[in-house]
Amino acid sequence: MPGLLNLRSREGTSEAAGYMISLPILYVALGVFVVMAWWFWTLAANAASVAQGSLTAGVGLDGEARRRQVVAAALGGFAAPYRDAQVARGERWVMVSVDHRYPIMGLGIVLNDMTVRARSFARQEAFYGLPGGEWE
């Protein structure tokens, strides 16, 4: 009666060889799905956050707090890199931009970079007595 475990058996070796070829390809495909899905989700979250942040800043409130709140709600613990945005102000406008590059890791090495960019340009809401200037 043969033993339960026969290491010299060649049964199943052809399947194993086949999987040796196909599994890496399937894993790469799965990796592409995950990376792309996360990238698009991050872009959408940042687009929404800068829109909300600039409008909030435009009415004189803490726009950065609102922006962080929105991006944290969408990304959870992964929102840390988006904690600081570039905020530019003019006399009658406020512009909030996010421009962040993060590495894509695979098997411990950097395979590529993904860039997340978003911007919103809001009016600084206030009473302006007279027309004139670049922005009214």
């Binding site: 070796t13 052809s14 399947e15 194993a16 060889a17 086949g18 999987y19 040796m20 070829i21 196909s22 390809i25 399937l26 495909a29 592409v32 799905f33 792309m36 899905a37 990238w39 698009f40 872009l43 959408a44 687009a47 929404a48 800068v50 829109a51 406008w93 512009m95 931009s97 860039t115 960019r117 978003a118 911007r119 919103s120 340009f121 809001a122 009016r123 302006y128 007279l130 027309p131 004139g132 670049e134 922005w135 009214e136």
Partner: protein, 149 residues
């Protein structure tokens, strides 16, 4: 050994599955790019409508809306010159004017595998309207100006 048939069935299975995998990746990229552009255009249209509706002189709303929308698009790394933008004023229910902004962008998808060739470029559109602030536009005498770019 070249003549070995080990793993042949799995290899054939993989060859059959590979087009499906590439198609699925192509669909993800194709619709993902369009989704990103849609998000950017929605925000751009909202920004433009807000700027269009407030102009103290009544003459600069459209021009500053166009400029604000271009700045917003460039922040998304989207070429503003490729966008078609129209800004107009429409009367709704006899309750004053609304600034209506429409923006569309023809997205070149040729580089996307499978779907880029099958479906070709895609045109994404977004629109937004907001009431024209009569208090902040009270200096208007010649009416609200329209434009496109």
């Amino acid at each position: 050994m070249i003549r070995s048939r080990r793993g042949l069935s799995e290899l054939i299975g993989l060859l059959l599955a590979l087009p499906l995998i590439i198609t699925a990746i192509g669909a993800t990229v194709y619709f993902g790019r369009a989704l990103y552009l849609q998000a950017a255009l929605e925000d751009t249209a909202a920004v433009g409508a807000r700027w269009a509706s407030t102009s103290l002189s009544g003459q600069q709303g459209c021009a500053q809306a166009l400029e604000a929308m271009r700045r917003t698009l460039s922040g998304y790394y989207i070429d503003p010159s490729g966008a078609r933008i129209s800004v107009s004023a429409e009367e709704v229910w006899g309750r004053g004017l609304y600034a209506r902004v429409r923006v569309s962008y023809r997205l070149d998808q040729r580089a996307v595998p499978v779907f880029g060739g099958l479906l070709g470029p895609i045109t994404v559109r977004a629109g937004y309207s907001t009431p024209i602030d009569t208090y902040n536009a009270r200096h208007s005498e010649g009416g609200w100006s329209q434009c496109s770019g």
